[in-house]
Amino acid sequence: MSALTLDKPPAPAEAPSRHRDTARLLRIVLRRLGIALFVLLCTATVSFFLVRLSGDPVKILLPPDATAHQESVLRASLGLDRPLLTQYLDYLWGLPRLDLGDSLVYGQPVSKILADRLPATIELAAAALAVTLVIAIPAGIFAAMRRGRRSDHTVMTGVLLGQSTPPFWVGILLILVFAVWLQALPASGYGTFANLVLPAVTLAVYSVAVVARLLRSSLIDVLSSDHIRSARAKGFGPLKVVLRHGLRNASLPVVTVIGLEVGNLLGGAILTERVFSWPGVGQLTVEAISNRDFPLVQATVLFFAATFVVVNLLVDLSYSFLDPRVRTSR
């Protein structure tokens, strides 16, 4: 999660100055960027060495009847016989130029393979986000308004169940019901809207729980505050009160968590994509790992790390913007 490390609160004695605010904001942004780059460098390093512990890719690339000579020729032509440090520096050298090397299995530049797979993953994440919002917001509002009653418990139990069920299991269950029994939706594949439904729902289940629970608790906090009471006193209906006055005030933490969920949806698609054979980055990651495709594994790991880092960065920065201590020095 994003650690909210703000600079020291500004000295209140000084007169407001737009210039100083901008400078402070810039400092925060630069520091965050520095940390983000450092995190990515660490990820790149760890993934580079970890993936090489998994074994020799040549053993998988070649059939069992290959001779030792054929193996060493291939190893040399793939550059895997060079010293580890040379390979590592080579890898780092390519990173800033987005040159992630060539895939050992597909023979294409890794960056191109990733770019080919990215749209499917983004599509799935966007659909899952839509599903999340469509379900979680009404559920959160409903539960908050009925808090403590049976309907609240029912909704929240359902949500909690969703949060504690592993996605691959949800996916298999959905396939069983909608594809095998009802034959209403395709079990896997890509291309039509119908293909998108089950994976998007599967991926959304966890996020629905996170968003709905947070929305419920922040709404409950807001609803017990004074200005809501005055709104009620004006004779607004309960739903109107919630929508008009409650949501606006409860939304900040919810928007934040939705931002973080975007990262989760992009990065959490590995199992879901696998179950539905969705041709995205998640599926690619699994293939790359089982093929010991070093450059490709490194790239996918880096991609997921970058997703999280960027999302956290945006969330943190939006906090800095939204935080009154930064926005205006009182």
Partner: protein, 524 residues
């Protein structure tokens, strides 16, 4: 606060409800429209083609450069866009393809006479230069080819426009067979020089019966019939390959008409598809051959021939086939599968008898059996567990050790011959249809997976690998199999069927190797 109980307005309030219904309606509409489209739209595919055959297999090709792949899934797709020099017919004999005839002109030279008038999809002529270029490209380390069969080939010379000589370091009697699939694909030299490797892999150009149209990785690969193919235009206008990783998605695709033919089914998956309306299962004897390798080099019970024979008696292969593989396999009496050159029908399988097994074990000094380990790749977990159960009935307690396929492969080819333990389950696809392919790496004592050393076996292997006379080779294979039947350095198991599921549209018969060459397919 909590006294406002107009719960109804929330619970069943008009706006919410109407909203729900509206979204529901939208969803349903959105769902049904593409479904309808995909149901009727697929066959009138956008290739401008009339009748399209849609084939699915467990995976997607790794690359469309035929010399940079070495797996059956990729080859199954590529064989439709590229021609090889030779081909295996359904009679298991070698037939001409781009080569009309071939003969060994001396011990280290095979001469191929090429078919005249063949053109690549881009119009480039396919001649001796193209053949020489293709084989040399395959052997060039810069190509990073995972294809290893041409290990004895050292060069190619162009004799004239339609004749090439392939030179080897030793006599390679099955070189023509090795040129019937992976190693024998012919590529257009001029086009490759102009387009470069990367562009070629994006849009492959061959001489095959179908031309490349489009590929969306992990989704579908489209081809169109090549009207100028030397063997005439194929019967289907379009061919679509798609990956279907599991049985339930295959079933759904078959029933919705999204796929006509599902290939590469495991016996497990086939059982899941069995009995559904509109789905026909076809099984053909295949050549993927499974066996247990026994380590006779390390001290232990397996050094005793009687123990090894006992294991063969104890493992009831027909029962295993019936119980675990749904009957979709054939018992193999020796290492060489039925249909491959060198198979000897007079070699009979071991009698399956626990009594005999126990007697042999007792004679060898193990009246109460012994404990051991059976290692397998986790894709074969069902078979491995069943084998362990069958052995247990004779008193042999084999603990099953399952490895991920990558680790398994690495240990199989490591220099430590005991890396996979005393007993491991292995399988080999003998696509050359020659016994040499399955024997070569795990019998002769200098080979990497050999765990039984016999001077006599080495002598027989040298004959079958190097002799120029097919009769001599056949005899050597027979002698070798009889010797191995006696010495039992392996537990001989079965050859798996090639299993296909289809709807009622396609008419097509595969060869023994189960390669998805769809040139001869028809659809109604």
């Amino acid at each position: 606060m909590e006294r406002i109980h107009q719960g109804r307005t929330v619970d069943r309030g008009r706006p919410t409800r109407r909203g729900v219904l509206r979204t529901g309606g939208l969803l349903l509409g959105a769902l049904s429209a593409p479904a309808l489209l995909s149901a009727c739209g697929t066959n009138a595919a956008a290739d401008g083609a009339g009748n399209v055959l849609r084939v699915s297999q467990p995976g997607d090709p790794k690359t469309l450069d035929p010399q940079k792949q070495g797996d059956m899934v990729s080859m199954n797709v590529l064989i439709n866009m590229f021609d090889t020099l030779t081909t295996r017919g359904r009679d298991n004999q070698l037939h001409p393809r781009l080569a009309l005839s071939w003969k060994a002109t001396d011990a280290r030279t095979w001469r191929f006479a090429l078919r005249p008038g063949v053109t690549f999809h881009n119009g480039e002529a396919c001649d001796a230069r193209a053949v020489a270029f293709s084989i040399e490209r395959l052997l060039d380390p810069a190509t990073k080819s995972p294809i290893v069969e041409l290990r004895y080939v050292k060069g190619v010379t162009v004799v004239d426009r339609l004749t090439v000589d392939v030179h080897t370091t030793v006599h390679d009697p099955i070189l023509p067979a090795k040129l019937s699939l992976f190693g024998g694909v012919i590529l257009p030299p001029r086009h490759l020089a102009e387009a470069g490797d990367a562009a070629f892999a994006e849009h492959p150009v061959g001489t095959g019966p179908f031309t490349f149209v489009s590929w969306r990785r992990d989704h579908e690969l489209r081809m169109r019939a090549y009207a100028d193919h030397w063997n005439g235009r194929p019967s289907v206008d379009g061919l679509v390959f798609s990956p279907a990783p599991n049985a339930s998605s295959s079933l759904a695709a078959l029933q919705s008409g999204g796929v006509d033919l599902v290939a590469g089914l495991t016996p497990d998956a086939a059982q899941q598809l069995d009995g559904y309306s509109g789905v026909t299962l076809d099984g053909y004897t295949g050549i993927r051959t499974s066996y247990l390798s026994l380590n006779t080099l390390e001290r232990g019970p397996l050094q005793d021939r009687r123990v090894r024979q006992a294991l063969n008696h104890a493992i009831d292969v027909p029962l295993l086939i019936k119980a675990v593989l749904g009957g979709k396999a054939t018992e193999t009496p020796a290492l060489v599968p039925r249909g491959a050159f060198g198979f000897d029908p007079t070699v009979k399988p071991f009698t399956r008898s626990l009594e005999t097994a126990r007697t042999l074990l007792a004679e060898a000094g193990h009246p109460h059996g012994f404990s051991t380990t059976l290692t397998a790749s986790n894709v074969d977990s069902n078979v491995a567990e069943a084998l362990s159960g069958l052995l247990a009935r004779a008193g042999v307690r084999a603990r099953v050790n399952l490895l991920d396929p990558g680790t398994y492969a690495a240990r199989l080819t490591s220099d430590n011959r005991g890396a996979l333990g005393p007993i491991y389950l292995a399988a080999s696809t003998v696509w050359t249809m020659d016994g040499q392919s399955i024997v070569q790496s795990n019998v002769r004592s200098d080979r990497r997976q050999s765990r039984w050393h016999s001077k006599e076996a080495d002598r027989l292997i040298d004959i079958e690998e190097l002799s120029e006379s097919p009769t001599k080779r056949k005899e050597a294979f027979s002698d070798l199999q009889r010797l191995m039947r006696e010495e039992a350095p392996f537990v001989f198991l079965y050859q798996l069927d090639n299993i296909f599921a289809r709807n009622d549209r396609p008419r097509w018969t595969p060869g023994s190797a189960g390669v998805l060459a769809m040139e001869s397919a028809e659809v109604s």
